[in-house]
């Protein structure tokens, strides 16, 4: 199970980490109650500052995707069977809106946007 970061990318490293870890969980590669590597170990493997990894883990905890248990480390939470709460739906809408606006500005129509979304969902659910 690998993760890959691009140190020279414009996207901050901690965001790259958050995105990659979320993807691993979404594809089912990382399962609920799986533990994440320790902050020190992941930071030294990637040769980045421990604060960067720590920031990523706290971001994931804030999103309720992982749980940080003091002294024993970070574990993946169960994906709730009740679905997302209102706040999460609101947050996703807010995040997606500018992207959809950008797509329309590029000249995409509804079908094109839907097909992109569908293909990404397929890609993730098929791992």
């Amino acid at each position: 199970m690998f993760i890959q970061i691009e140190p020279t990318s414009e996207i901050p490293i901690y965001t790259q980490l958050v995105n990659q870890l979320m993807e691993l969980i979404a594809t089912g590669t990382m399962k609920p109650s799986d533990s994440l590597p320790s902050v020190r170990s992941l930071a030294s493997d990637l040769g980045v500052n421990m604060h960067t990894v720590n920031k990523a883990y706290h971001e994931l905890e804030r999103k309720n995707i992982i749980q940080i248990i003091p002294k024993s480390g970070a574990v993946v939470n169960i994906i709730p069977s009740t679905g997302p709460n209102e706040l999460q739906i609101e947050y996703i809408k807010q995040m997606v809106k500018p992207l959809i606006a950008e797509s329309i500005v590029y000249g995409m129509d509804k079908d094109q946007i839907s097909s992109i979304v569908n293909s990404i969902i397929t890609e993730i659910s098929e791992g």
């Binding site: 199970m1 890959q4 691009e6 590597p37 320790s38 992941l42 493997d45 980045v48």
Partner: protein, 368 residues
């Protein structure tokens, strides 16, 4: 005898130094990261060949001079020793100078040929590697420490019966040739040095276990296998070294307490056996494992992932050999030119682990 020992050591250094470019990962040449797809460059291959050839020639000349002078002229043991050390030193310094020359050449070539400019530079981590680490547990490294403490207690019991002169140095025949006055400190000085060294080995194992696993971005699965093997076998090798030292010094301490327990033969055989086993183990380790496990052939076939290469951290490697990266929490990292670990000079804990024990050992040696 002394000539033979130095001959073997000089020959050994020559072989290892000349082989180093071929024991390294293909992705690093003379301390420079070589982006994916360029490790087979003809100029690089030539640099490596020239480097090795010059070392072999220098080594052979050194051996010739040493043997001729050592056997023909009537030199004392001390003179032979000094000559042997000077030849070793000259060999090591010339390999450093050669290294530096080819480091500059390689850097230049990489820049001129614009290697890797169209590749995405990434760093890869394996999230499951902690549970797959097979390095020896640090508690095993603490076992020799227990032996040493036992020997100190044993020495304390036998203190009244010990001779007035305590040996501090042993000549090539294995017999002691320098002594100091008996005192509660001088009788255990050797054991204290051993203790500090063992403690350093424990700390070394603890911190190398925490060091990062640096995977090859394009061949992550095979490089993972190589990395894990490197870590495992390096910790075995370190443990063997700690064990051998404990046996040798423990033996010397027992002969100091009880006189010639094994007779002159054992006095000669013990340090020689130590040297032979250590050199053999080093050779097996260097050629079977290689730097970062580069000599280990993973059973899996792995196609290189195209379009990516290792993130270039050459900026952190001063002259290609000194790693200075304040961000990296690793205290020890794999060497780039050579075999084994080197320290992250950007992390002060590393200085503590290496220099404090060395200072204590020097202090003990000088207070005798």
């Amino acid at each position: 005898m002394l000539v033979a020992i130095f001959f073997a050591i000089i020959l050994f250094i020559t072989i290892i130094q000349a082989s180093i470019p071929f024991l390294l990962k293909k992705t690093i040449a003379f301390g420079v990261t070589i982006p994916e797809g360029h490790s087979g460059d003809k100029n690089l291959a030539n640099y490596k060949k020239i480097y090795s050839s010059i070392i072999v020639i220098l080594g052979l000349v050194g051996l010739l001079i040493f043997t001729l002078r050592g056997l023909n002229e009537h030199l004392g043991e001390e003179q032979i020793g000094v000559m042997g050390l000077i030849i070793q030193l000259v060999l090591l310094i010339s390999s450093m100078v050669l290294y530096l020359y080819f480091h500059i050449q390689t850097t230049k070539r990489k820049r001129e040929m614009k290697w890797g400019e169209n590749l995405k530079m990434v760093r890869v981590a394996d999230l499951t590697r902690q549970s797959n680490d097979e390095m020896l547990p640090s508690i095993i490294f603490a076992l020799p420490v227990v032996v040493t403490i036992g020997l100190i207690a044993y020495t304390a019991i036998h203190y009244p019966a010990m001779p007035d002169q305590i040996p501090t140095h042993w000549g090539p025949s294995g017999q002691p040739d320098a002594f100091t006055e008996k005192s509660p400190f001088s009788v255990i000085a050797l054991l204290l040095i051993l203790l500090v060294t063992q403690g350093m080995m424990v700390a070394f194992n603890v911190f190398t276990k925490k060091s990062g696993v640096k995977l090859n971005a394009a061949r992550r699965n095979s490089s993972r296998i190589q990395q894990m093997s490197f870590r495992k076998y390096t910790s075995w090798f370190m443990f063997l070294t700690s064990l051998l030292m404990t046996i040798l010094i423990g033996f010397l301490q027992l002969t100091t307490i009880h006189g010639d327990i094994g007779g002159p033969f054992l006095m000669l055989a013990a340090p020689l056996g130590f040297l032979v086993i250590l050199l053999l183990a080093t050779a097996i380790y260097a050629f079977k494992v290689g730097q970062g496990g580069s000599r280990i052939q993973p059973e899996i076939e792995e196609e290189a992932i195209t379009g990516v290469t290792d993130s270039d951290d050459d900026v952190y490697w001063k002259a290609g050999v000194f790693y200075v990266n304040k961000n990296d929490p690793s205290i020890f990292v794999e060497k780039r030119f050579g075999i084994g670990w080197t320290m992250n000079f950007g992390n002060p804990i590393g200085y503590l682990i290496i220099f404090v024990p060395v200072l204590i050992i020097i202090a003990i040696s000088f207070s005798l």
